[in-house]
């Protein structure tokens, strides 16, 4: 049970709920962030790009107005400087090319940021082109345009500008940082929410579990509290209804059983009075049978014998119903077990038929009458149903907790189907023999007597053949008696 509980801890609802919540929180946070990042990055960069293009276009047009072709390097440099001044911004430079001449606004700038592809695009498409480039992990926007004068023909003058987009890039990166910082608390919050949700789900589940276990332990009166109107509440209600139905039918069965047992007790009790009268007068029949005609004598003896049998049966039924009703009481007296067994055997003239192993000096507090009944029954059965030699051995366990009386025979033993029923009431081992000397309650009464002592009787087959019945009684040591 404990092991299963621990396993439940690992694969349990609580862990699964927390994992699911955290996973959902993570996935939604990451997806939302990714989408937002992409959109805002595009928007920011686009705006920058548009601004740069407009500025660039205006500056180039302004500067080109004062420009004459063919131009020399000085004019080119002035043009580049003029455009660059207008654009401004951090890390910005302008390159102007005319035929094979090139001039730049900042001689130290890295002109490789203007890629051959951009140049080719500007030349071939003959209009303004962009390219985003990255150098040493920094984003730049490179923009280039051919300069045309009064018509579509290219003048041969191309102007390029490169400007840093670090600020914009950092803006969108800041968004990522914010999300990264925010995701940890979100996940924690999700976990806490999951735990709370698990709690509300698990509490009724745990209560149901406890109630189920209490039921299993026999407390059918246990009910669970119904809270709310959800599925768990419905389950709790179903549980309560099932429990109530179960309790009712168990109570009904018990009542029926008690009624049946009471009936047997009442019947037996009612039988006793006529049986007492019959038993008394049967003596007269026995005494005078010899003087009667043969048939009448036979009838008289039969009536007498059957009356005695009936009396024994009623005695056994009464004894059984005392066990059933809990009226049977243990009357413990200090007893020498060996002596008690010998007495039982000698009272029934069985001493010569049983090989005994009775160690002297085993004294215990037992109910003498009940031990007598048990031993007489076990020995009687062994002699009736088994084969000689019947052995009886009294042993004690070394710890001093138990007394054992083992009665074994060397007969055919007990087939499994009989072994299972040997302590049943009115069970007859030999179906061919419908009548036996006993009432059919002997072994059942013997077992009840053993149980009343807190002991047991076990039936088994002997390895060498034959049946063995083992009576085990708790060894109550002889000690102070009440006065």
């Amino acid at each position: 049970m404990r092991y299963r509980t621990r396993l439940r801890g690992l694969g349990g609802l609580r862990v699964r709920l927390v994992l699911a919540f955290v996973l959902v929180a993570l996935v939604s946070a990451v997806t939302a962030t990714a989408l937002a990042y992409r959109e805002s990055r595009t928007a920011v960069l686009q705006r920058k790009q548009d601004a740069v293009r407009t500025d660039f276009k205006n500056r180039v047009e302004q500067a080109a107005a004062d420009f004459d072709v063919p131009a020399d390097e000085v004019a080119l440099t002035r043009l580049a400087g003029g455009v660059a001044d207008g654009l401004g911004g951090e890390d910005t430079f302008v390159v102007a090319t005319y035929r094979s001449r090139t001039a730049t606004s900042d001689a130290s700038a890295d002109r490789s940021r203007i890629t051959p592809e951009l140049r080719a695009a500007v030349r071939t498409r003959n209009r303004m082109s962009f390219q985003r480039v990255e150098r040493h992990g920094r984003p730049y926007l490179a923009i280039g345009t051919p300069v045309t004068f009064d018509g579509a023909a290219p003048s041969g003058l191309d102007v390029y500008a490169v400007t840093s987009m670090r600020a914009e890039s950092e803006d969108t990166a800041g968004l990522l940082d914010a999300v990264r910082d925010g995701i940890v608390p979100v996940v924690l919050l999700a976990a806490v929410l999951a735990l709370l949700a698990a709690g509300t789900v698990l509490r009724p589940v745990r209560e149901l579990g406890r109630a189920t276990r209490r039921h299993a332990a026999g407390d059918l009166g246990t009910r669970v509290r119904v809270r709310g109107r959800d599925e768990l509440a419905a389950l709790a209600r179903d549980f309560n209804e099932t429990a109530a139905a179960l309790e009712a039918s168990v109570a009904e069965l018990r009542e029926q059983d008690a009624r049946a047992k009471r009936f047997v007790a009442d019947v037996s009790h009612e039988l006793r009075t006529p049986l007492t009268a019959m038993t008394m007068v049967a003596t007269v029949l026995d005494e005078d049978a010899d003087a009667l005609p043969p048939d009448t004598a036979h009838a008289a003896r039969t009536v007498s014998a059957e009356t005695a049998r009936l009396a024994r049966l009623v005695d056994d039924l009464m004894e059984m119903s005392r066990f059933d009703s809990g009226a049977a009481r243990l009357h413990l007296t200090a007893t020498d077990l060996a002596e008690a067994v010998r007495t039982t055997l000698s009272l029934r003239a069985l001493t010569g038929h049983v090989r005994t192993e009775l160690p002297a000096g085993v004294r215990a507090m037992v109910d003498r009458r009940r031990v007598d009944v048990i031993v007489a029954n076990l020995v009687g059965n062994a002699l009736r149903h088994g084969a000689a030699p019947v052995t009886l051995a009294l042993t004690t366990d070394p710890a001093g907790d138990w007394l054992t009386i083992e009665v074994a025979d060397r007969g055919p033993g007990l087939p499994p189907e009989i072994l299972a029923h040997v302590f049943d009431r009115f069970y007859k081992a030999d179906t061919a023999r419908t009548r036996s000397e006993g009432s059919g309650l002997g072994t059942a009464i013997a077992l009840e007597n053993a149980r009343l002592h807190g002991g047991t009787i076990e039936a088994a087959d002997r390895p060498g053949g034959g049946a063995v019945f083992t009576l085990r009684l708790p060894w109550r040591q002889v000690r102070e008696e009440s006065r």
């Binding site: 009790h269 009075t273 008394m280 003498r368 102070e480």
Partner: protein, 230 residues
């Protein structure tokens, strides 16, 4: 032969018992109710009755009450209870009420007669004449009387016989089984509660403080002994 009073409400049981006991030589009186039995015992016919067989379940006052009232008058008449149930509580109650012995229905005639004979033998005088004084408790074995500091104590035969048995060997320990055999003449499997109940009744009559007995002492795990009285 002995004169027995049968107190039993069931006609068949009463007639059956009467028939068998008469055949075996007993004088039998019968009573169907406790009231009738008590009246009979108090009347002139009651003087000859030597033993009562008493059914516990009677209409009107029950067997326990009959026994109690009988003992309250100081009667020492031997009483054998006839219990229909054999329930332990009934037996204990009956013994506490003052019954000497019990048999469980349906009882066979030989068993009933054996118990009757044993109970009657307990009431027979002991031949060895000897007056004893055990620290104030005077036991006259010839006259079958017991007195304490000059006051006679009426003891029913079972209690008297138990006291005689125990006091015959002061300081000797008797097991319950021994006492059942010697006093009640039961076999090995007699009910030792008979002894315990009789000891209890006896202590109530002869001891100064029944809870701390001087005369009849319990020997743990073994049984009882008389004295030694100091």
């Amino acid at each position: 032969m002995a004169h027995v009073l049968l107190i039993e409400d069931d006609v068949s049981v009463r007639d059956g018992m009467e028939l068998v006991l008469r055949r075996h030589g007993y004088d039998v009186d019968t009573a169907a109710t406790g009231e009738h039995a008590l009246a009979l015992l108090e009347g002139p016919a009651g003087a000859g009755v030597e033993l009562a067989v008493l059914d516990l379940m009677l209409p009107g006052i029950d067997g326990f009450e009959v026994c109690r009232r009988l003992r309250a008058t100081g009667s020492t008449l031997p009483v054998i209870m006839l219990t229909a149930r054999g329930d332990d509580s009934d037996i204990v109650r009956g013994l506490e009420a003052g019954a000497d012995d019990y048999v469980v229905k349906p009882v066979t005639a030989p068993v009933l007669e054996a118990r009757i004979r044993a109970a009657l033998r307990r009431a027979e005088p002991v031949r060895s004449a000897r007056g004893e004084d055990h620290a104030g408790l005077v036991i006259d074995r010839a006259g079958l009387t017991v007195g304490k500091r000059g006051v006679p104590i009426a003891l029913p035969p079972t209690e008297l016989r138990l006291l005689l048995e125990l006091s015959a060997s002061p300081a000797h320990v008797f097991s319950r089984e021994q006492l059942l055999q010697s006093v009640w003449e039961h076999g090995f499997l007699g009910d030792s509660r008979l002894v315990d109940a009789a000891v209890g009744r006896l202590r109530a009559k002869i001891e100064d403080v029944p809870a701390r007995p001087r005369y009849i002492q319990t020997v743990r795990g073994f049984g009882y002994r008389f004295g030694p009285v100091r």
